[in-house]
Symmetry: none
Subunit: 192 residues, 4 copies
């Protein structure tokens, strides 16, 4: 959750054990399976200790998932900036379509009711994704491939929004081919 303790320390080992167990449970049975009792049983770390490190179950799960996913979606570099954006979107869609996508949706859901979890989730996931796009966007701007009048944040919303929307709305997540269509439409615009 908060600042990491010095590596190798007791706390660090505990933390790692919890995240490992939670991550495994998460991937095996989703958020439902990642019970604090289950994490305790699997990791050997007591419930009290878990609650000393994280405020609640959802936060443990988010951290565990983040750890598990660390650097899953790298920044592409296709030469063309528009190609980069498209590729990035494709990668994110692929992630969402994978089993991990379902877990992510549950985390998103779990965070809805809990401000702490919400903050942690944004910090661990969304912030990084948005930042990644910001980088690509700047690159594209420099090459003159995108419209300067468009706010970066709006652009990010426009690109990620559809992906998340499809994920949480329970309609099938966007597949790789649709990802291309989304990117194309976003770049070319709906109007004429």
């Amino acid at each position: 959750m908060t600042a990491e303790p010095k590596p190798g320390s007791r706390s660090a080992r505990v933390r790692a054990a919890v995240l490992k167990a939670a991550g495994e449970l998460l991937m095996a049975g989703g958020l439902t399976a990642a019970t604090v009792d289950a994490i305790n049983a699997r990791s050997g770390v007591s419930k009290a200790t878990i609650y000393k490190h994280w405020p609640n179950r959802t936060c443990v799960a988010i951290d565990a998932f983040a750890e598990h996913m660390a650097r899953t979606v790298p920044l592409p570099d296709t030469g063309s900036a528009r190609g980069d954006l498209t590729e990035q979107l494709r990668l994110v869609c692929a992630f969402h379509a994978s089993p991990a996508g379902a877990v992510f949706a549950q985390l998103l859901a779990g965070a809805t009711a809990d401000p702490q979890a919400g903050r942690l989730l944004r910090e661990r996931f969304l912030a990084g994704r948005r930042e990644a796009i910001r980088v690509l966007w700047r690159r594209a701007l420099a090459r003159g491939e995108v419209r300067a009048e468009v706010d970066v944040e709006v652009a990010i919303d426009l690109l990620f929004g559809p992906v998340i929307y499809r994920l949480v709305s329970g309609v099938a997540p966007i597949g790789p081919e649709q990802a291309g269509a989304i990117a194309e439409a976003a770049l070319a615009g709906l109007g004429r």
Copy 2:
């Protein structure tokens, strides 16, 4: 949930009482407060009966919310098709920014884990919204204001996605002014 019983019948009264109580609880304290026990206490309808009408709590909540929201977001007609789309987006954003928006996010969340609830939610909310946009889109197409190459469904994703994304991600929901920016960007496209 299922087909309505004949109005005025015992079942219908029960159904109405439950939805009323659930709706009030929902608006007052969010999904968390809309406990089955609380609904029972407030409506006088016994838990067993509630479970005879709905498969689980989430479904009750969705139905109640739908009832409560019935026809909140009407179809606009501004003369210009692009104006219609923009206006529709603005309306949806306003809805999300209202207190009800938070509840909606929780319902979306609750539906993540439960297929039945997901289906019901799509049926009660998302389907209507998408259909509304389809109508506007056809209108816009007829007037030649939008690109025919773009798939309607993609267009819908592009328009709604950002809105939902901002809602569930816990970043502040999109305000009315940003709604315009989103619509503009979606229509004009990001690229040049």
Copy 3:
């Protein structure tokens, strides 16, 4: 705890199951073993239900022990009233010296911190014992075998006090032979 529900009812069966399990655990491992979780596991009655019937673990244990002990120490009738008193004392001592005695001491201990448990304990055990002695005392008074100037309650304290004292103080409980000495001393008096 409180008024019994109609026999054969669901509540009555639950109550009986809990008391049976608790009693067995109590006799097998003392108050320490009579955990609510253990009672739940052994009886099949859920914790929530147990807590609906009793305010806390100690009260369950007291009730269980009372049930288990129902009518262990009967009223004697030796012909002589003084003999009756002596005999009653001997019986009570024997009870305390038995394994059950240790459990009783633990219940007494557990009741120290909890007013509800204290009340229940007095109601279930001490009241009955004191009443029994009151009966014997009246009988003895009628036969002129005891001093009328002595208050019954004082007499009861004088007879039972030593027994309980030895039990809780952890000195070996009074054996049957010492019981006689106590009774003799109480009746004849210490002074001359």
Copy 4:
């Protein structure tokens, strides 16, 4: 608990700090409040150190209470041996009726489950009391005021028993006036 270390030494200071803190907590909130963590917090002595000096919390409490009570009930000398016994009983009763009495009952309770605590308690409290009575009893014997046939230990049980009984049974502790009645009855005997 064990042999005192040389006064003024580090151990002695630690010991004193613990007993002081524990005693204060004990008087303020009873045995319940005298948590090891609380003692640690209040005394500044670490838990590990506390456990190096005492085998468990109950023993700390007993020692603390003993320290706190040191010499509360002195040996009376009224001239008459029977008067001495009566007076002694009255003093003990007064002690039990004071707030400290409740704490003492809890200690008695706590000692029930733990042999070490039981031993310590007897050593710190009961032994002294019994010895005091033995002295008085010998004095009374020498003056011919009590019956020589009665065993001293039985006499002690007869005098103290009622007091402790009333204390632990949760019935109101014996007040000073009743103390007299008890003493009178014990000396004169119940029978005629």
